[in-house]
């Protein structure tokens, strides 16, 4: 037998130390040149300078809830340099529910839970049918009765005492659900071939978009009462709600119009050639495609309006931000701004981040056919 030499490769050697492992990664990405090394070191120094004081303020030097056991928790807080979480422990119910009667605060809590529940099931595709409509038709009156009371043995709570999270969620929920269909009609109107409808839609959209929300709220709060006879008043919350609806509709209309214009012309022509009526064409062919395209900007607008509702505090409706500010006017607890703003920022973040995550999921699931 011939001695055929089979080639036996040497066992492979590990890559050079300098290019592998954690050290290699550091070297390749953070210290590849002298100036990259310098920037890395500067940033590390900066982060340390930034994070250490924050951690110290939030955790190490903070006055925790235990201070509430003492006679004057605010004074205990003032002696420490760190955050005063005792402030949140004392005031969280006020910030969340405003001046809603203290013993009745289970009602706004339940109302918020029901509203969030409605939104959650609305987000689930399994409920995208008639059942969902029934849920809302039952849910909204239940929430309203819970909040205002006056029947079923619930004590009546006037809207002037509503506040905090229920107000923020309520104003944005009602505002957006009513404004959305209005916005769709305005968008269709703006593209209509009928001149009167088109001009009215354009005038409305441009007029509303041309002024800040704050002026619409001021108008509804200050000007409207002057035109009504003395003693005749429209509830201030209702006035603000109408202002928000009118304002949101104009913005949503432009978002929807963007979607409408992105639907290819062939789709309209195909629908026309099938002999569909205007409403069949719009409802079955154009809108489903247009709204799907509009998901990212729609959610963007929704998130924006959820946060914009805090502007109502300028007409002395106390949403989350207003309630937090009002809490700070208590003589014993003045000056704990950072803590209260951090607390409401966290609440806003939870809501807005969930909305944005859901929209990403939704985009993926309704765009499977056209994903690029």
């Amino acid at each position: 037998m011939a001695n055929t030499d089979t080639f036996v490769p040497l066992p492979s050697r590990p890559p050079p130390r300098a290019t592998s492992g954690f050290l290699g990664w550091l070297r390749g990405n953070l210290f590849s040149t002298w100036y990259n090394a310098l920037i890395t070191l500067l940033l590390v120094w900066f982060l340390v300078e930034l994070i250490v004081p924050i951690v110290r303020w939030v955790v190490v030097d903070a006055t925790l809830f235990s201070a509430l056991g003492t006679d004057d928790p605010a004074a205990v807080c003032r002696q420490n340099d760190g955050a005063c979480w005792a402030f949140i422990a004392e005031w969280w119910r006020f910030i969340l529910f405003g001046r809603y009667p203290y013993v009745e605060q289970w009602r706004p809590a339940l109302a918020v839970a029901i509203t969030i529940g409605l939104w959650v099931i609305s987000c689930d595709r399994r409920f995208w049918n008639k059942r969902l409509m029934y849920f809302w038709l039952v849910g909204v009156p239940v929430v309203y009765i819970l909040m205002s009371g006056g029947i079923l043995g619930l004590t009546e709570v006037p809207t002037v005492n509503w506040g905090g999270l229920p107000l923020t969620i309520g104003l944005s929920t009602v505002g957006l659900t009513v404004a959305f269909p209005l916005g769709i009609f305005l968008a269709l109107g703006r593209r209509s071939k009928m001149p009167v409808i088109r001009i009215l839609s354009i005038a409305y959209i441009e007029l509303i978009r041309g002024v800040p929300l704050i002026t619409v709220l001021f108008m509804s709060s200050l000007m409207l009462p002057m035109f009504l006879p003395t003693g005749v008043t429209i509830d201030v919350l209702l006035r603000a709600q109408i202002g928000i609806i009118l304002f949101a509709a104009a913005y949503l209309a432009e978002v929807v119009r963007g979607g409408l214009q992105a639907v290819p012309r062939g789709q309209f022509e195909a629908a026309d050639s099938l002999g569909l009526t205007y409403w069949q064409k719009t409802g079955l062919i154009v809108l489903p495609q247009a709204l799907r395209i509009s998901i990212p900007p729609l959610v963007n607008t929704f998130i924006g309006f959820f946060k914009d509702t805090s502007l109502v505090s300028i007409i002395s409706l106390l949403d989350l931000v207003g309630a937090a500010k009002q809490a700070l006017t208590n003589p014993s607890w003045r000056g704990f701004y950072q803590e209260s703003y951090l607390f409401i920022a966290l609440i806003f973040f939870i809501f807005c981040f969930s909305m944005s995550k859901y929209s990403q999921w939704l985009e993926k699931h309704v765009n499977t056919g056209t994903r690029r």
């Binding site: 002057m226 003395t230 106390l318 006017t329 208590n330 003589p331």
Partner: protein, 341 residues
């Protein structure tokens, strides 16, 4: 016919149709029917109107509302509080959204006349002052020439400041900041030498926001008059009388030594003034169109003026204000009740 007069006539009719519906006693009847007084208060001003952590209103302005409700309806909790911003307050009162405004509102001629309002007696005499760091070595506002001054825009504070410095031929550099917490931060960080706002505000800021209150002094000069009191709209003189005399009753009670604690004892007092005030000798309540226990109920609810002051803004509260000019006239202050007889 000249166009102008037609327009003027039209405008007059337009205004009249809004103003006319206010009839005498309309407000009193509305309050009695509703069983609650609608009271406009500040959205949040420490010591004057602010909520506690359970959402109950407290403060000096709030207690005035409760006293009026107690006098009219016998129940200090029969008040619907409406928080109002500075811009909203007069519209809310004129349009009837609130019956009375008890919201640190300065009594001025234009407000009293052209806005169609009536001011009840002053419940707190305030005035604009200056606060400086103690190590600045200044003891009088007249030594402040060339100083940088932290001030909030929009109110009369800015105007008073400019007037005062101009009148005394001094220079100053304003640092104008909108948000109160930012003004506080700027001043205590040393961005300006002087902080100016109402003296009551300065005292409370020094007490609660200053890192060390002893490092700051409030200068003795008060450069403006800010008499604050409850306000009603024109048109219901009986309601105006009720608000006016409720405030006087609170002040009179302090002068006569009637407190919420010794009230029942005082019912047996032999002093004719006390007897008239508390309705033991009838007549006062009837004259106002109220029950004879009006003043008794108001004092039982919130105490006399001195008690209200000490509870909300006095030296033992975080605001730590001295009585000063808000003391009784018998002790050198300005609080003087017209005779209740």
């Amino acid at each position: 016919m000249p166009m102008k007069s037609i327009l003027a006539a039209g405008a007059a009719v337009g205004v009249l149709s809004v103003v006319m519906p206010v009839q005498a006693q309309e407000t009193v009847n509305a309050v009695m029917e509703r069983g609650a007084l609608r009271c406009g208060v500040n959205t949040g001003l420490a010591g004057f109107s602010n909520p506690d952590s359970e959402g109950n209103w407290e403060g000096l302005d709030v207690d005035v509302c409760r006293a009026i409700a107690a006098a009219m309806l016998g129940d200090p909790d029969a008040v619907e509080f409406t928080p109002l911003t500075a811009q909203q307050r007069f519209t809310a009162l004129q349009s009837g959204e609130v019956d009375v405004l008890s919201r640190n509102t300065t009594w001025t001629l234009t407000r009293d006349t052209s806005l169609g309002l009536n001011f009840a007696p002053v419940t707190f005499y305030d005035g604009q002052g200056f606060m400086v760091p103690a190590d600045l070595g200044v003891t009088s506002a007249l030594e402040l020439s060339g100083a940088t001054v932290c001030v909030q825009p929009g109110t009369t504070t800015e105007l008073n400041l400019a007037d005062y410095f101009r009148a005394n031929e001094m220079e100053f550099e304003p640092v104008v900041i909108e948000q109160i917490d930012e003004v506080n931060a700027a001043f205590f960080a040393g961005r300006c030498d002087v902080y100016t706002t109402d003296a009551s505000g300065l005292a409370s800021i020094r007490a609660t926001v200053a890192p060390n209150p002893a490092d700051y002094i409030i200068l003795p000069e008060i450069i403006s008059k800010e008499p604050l009191g409850p306000v009603v709209r024109h048109g219901d003189d009986q309601f105006f009388d009720i608000v006016k005399w409720t405030v006087y009753a609170l002040i009179e009670a302090e002068e006569l030594g009637v407190t919420s604690e010794n009230l029942e004892e005082m019912m047996g007092s032999s002093n004719p003034s006390v007897q008239r005030l508390l309705g033991v000798t009838p007549g006062m309540g009837e004259a106002l169109g109220l029950s004879e226990s009006w003043a008794h109920d108001a004092i039982a609810a919130v105490g006399n003026y001195g008690e209200i002051f000490e509870r909300n803004v006095g030296v033992n509260t975080p605001l730590g204000l001295e009585r000063g000019i808000n003391d009784l006239w018998t002790r050198g202050g300005l609080m003087y009740a017209m005779p209740i007889r």
